[in-house]
């Protein structure tokens, strides 16, 4: 009884959940990383001290400013063409975040739709979709993405398509399982009793209850997408090498690894931080949004 009163006094459930989520250290860390990414990506032209494309061949391969030989003008040093690394990292965040959000969105869209169908209708629909997921997942992702890029051609759009086409299965499997659980809940029976159509029950009643799970999956998928984008720009199958990407910087760093190791270290730190941050955010949100784990 006392617990119930406390719960009522603490405010409506969603706000309360958000508050508990924010108290979670992982959510706080991940949220900060995500916020930093958004700020860097959105404000890149304002924040970056230099144009990421402007070359200064006289000052190529400058070390970070605090190292011997570094210049204050180039805080994190310069690359082989004398381009400012800090600015390239900041503009790289733009590409990373764009791919992370757009690719995850489409992966979520396809996966959720098919997952809802499979979980709610069952029968042959479920059988067909489940087999499709199985076949899809049997093929190694790296190889599949390379074949896809070979087909569509290099570029940002093909990276996004490749990630969405490969990773929808992650959403589909989880959403299917959750839909099957939700389908047996009383509120679904009530919705059917008052005469809601099956489609309406699925999209207006069940879908909102899957959303917390989707948020978690989406966050985790963003981390995966950042890695895949970095891999594809590293092997030279993403945007052209002029455009600043973290993977592209790593590739350049790999070429000059013995002369200028920081060229590879800096974008790696960006990727590791973003991925660990997004994973922490996903795990933390799962802990506070998932009713089973919350208890």
């Amino acid at each position: 009884m006392a617990e119930a009163t406390e719960a009522v006094l603490a405010g409506p459930a969603p706000q309360r959940r958000l508050r508990t989520a924010l108290k979670n250290g992982r959510v706080l860390f991940g949220g900060t990383v995500l916020a930093a990414l958004v700020v860097l990506a959105a404000g890149a032209p304002l924040i970056a001290p230099h144009d990421p494309l402007s070359q200064d061949l006289i000052s190529s391969f400058l070390p970070p400013s605090w190292a011997p030989g570094g210049e204050a003008e180039y805080l994190l040093g310069t690359d082989s063409l004398g381009r400012d690394i800090l600015s390239r990292l900041i503009f790289g965040a733009q590409i990373a975040l764009t791919v992370a959000v757009v690719a995850s969105f489409f992966a979520a869209l396809i996966g959720t739709f098919l997952g809802l169908l499979a979980g709610y209708y069952g029968g042959w629909v479920d059988w067909l979709i489940s087999r499709l997921v199985e076949i899809w997942m049997a093929f190694p992702a790296v190889l599949l993405s390379i074949v896809l890029v070979a087909v569509i051609g290099t570029g940002l759009h093909s990276v996004i398509v490749a990630i969405a086409v490969i990773d929808w299965t992650r959403f589909c499997r989880v959403v299917r399982a959750e839909t099957m659980v939700q389908r047996r809940q009383d509120y679904v029976a009530s919705a059917v009793t008052i005469g809601l159509s099956r489609r309406r029950t699925l999209f207006a009643e069940i879908l909102p209850n899957v959303v917390p799970l989707l948020i978690v999956l989406f966050t985790l998928e963003m981390g995966i997408a950042i890695i895949v984008e970095a891999i594809l720009s590293f092997v030279g199958l993403s945007v052209s090498s002029d455009t600043a990407t973290w993977g592209g910087l790593i590739q350049e760093g790999r070429l000059y690894i013995n002369q200028v190791p920081w060229l590879m270290v800096l974008p790696m730190i960006c990727i590791i931080l973003s991925v660990l941050g997004l994973n922490a955010l996903g795990d933390g949100l799962r802990a506070s949004l998932d009713p089973v784990m919350r208890r």
Binding site: A138, V142, A150, V235, L237, R254, I257, V275
Partner: protein, 335 residues
Amino acid sequence: MSAVFLLKRLILAVPTLFGVTVIVFVLLRVVPGDPINMMIGPGATPQDIQQLREIYGLDKSIWDQFVIYLRDLAHGQFGTSISLRQDVLHLILGRLPVTIELCLMAMWLAIATGVWLGLIGAYGRGRWPEAAVDGFSGLVLAIPDFLWALLFILLLGVAIPIMPISGRLDFDTEFKPYTEFYLIESLVRGDFHVFLSVLLHMILPAVALALPLTAIIARVLKSSINEVMTQDYIMMARAKGYDRRRIIVREALRNALIPTVTLTGVQFTFLVGGTVLIERIFAYPGLGNMAVDAVINRDLPLIQGIVLTFAVLFLVINLLVDLTYAILNPRLRHG
């Protein structure tokens, strides 16, 4: 294990392979952009382009191209690479042994370390060894192999430069190989200087490839041993007074291996797929590295050949896994 079982598996592989062949063909034919334009300079005349299209059979209808393609495949002809202007099969056979050696080394590392860690974790259940094994697999799986490979390069190639980080052999090594299996060949010929060089070049990429699989094997084996340990026949062994180590190794391990083998098989295909990236990172001259170049150059015949080769590799692995599974599982062995 019966011959029927083996035959059934082999027959099942045929439609899968055919399916892959069709998918690869169709996918690569709907490519926007003309591969001929990619390979030819801007000064080419329309006649030159037309002539090349005929040479590569690109002027025929899709259906004709498919029939020709299937007929050539049946004759072991994969066509001519557009970017390298060499026979595709010859190119692939030159690179395949490199990748196979690397994968076998990685798999051996993963199984040896993974099983050992799994056993340690199960033996030290509820104490620090289990926590250490869990911590290791958690850390390994939290960071993708792409970043592990780069970290190895930074740590062992640059910060403490004790390992080679590019290529397959030192530049100054004199070695006239008869086969592409350098590691095996140098060992057989007793050329230990070369053997050591090949081995050293192989270690970092192999470890990077093996890491995720190691963690997964350790994790699955540990939990399946823990599960098996609750069964009656283990109680029996305990009642007989066998010590814990003997029970785990001699009684529990065999049954606990079944789920591990199934999973290892699936994961091993991912390991083979991972060579595409890892070989690129370590400038290792294998099939995966060539695959990336082929895609960058839009070299259709070469891409087709490489993807088909990978598909055959996956099928062979799955077949081997099924066989191992059948050997381990008495119900299938006698069924």
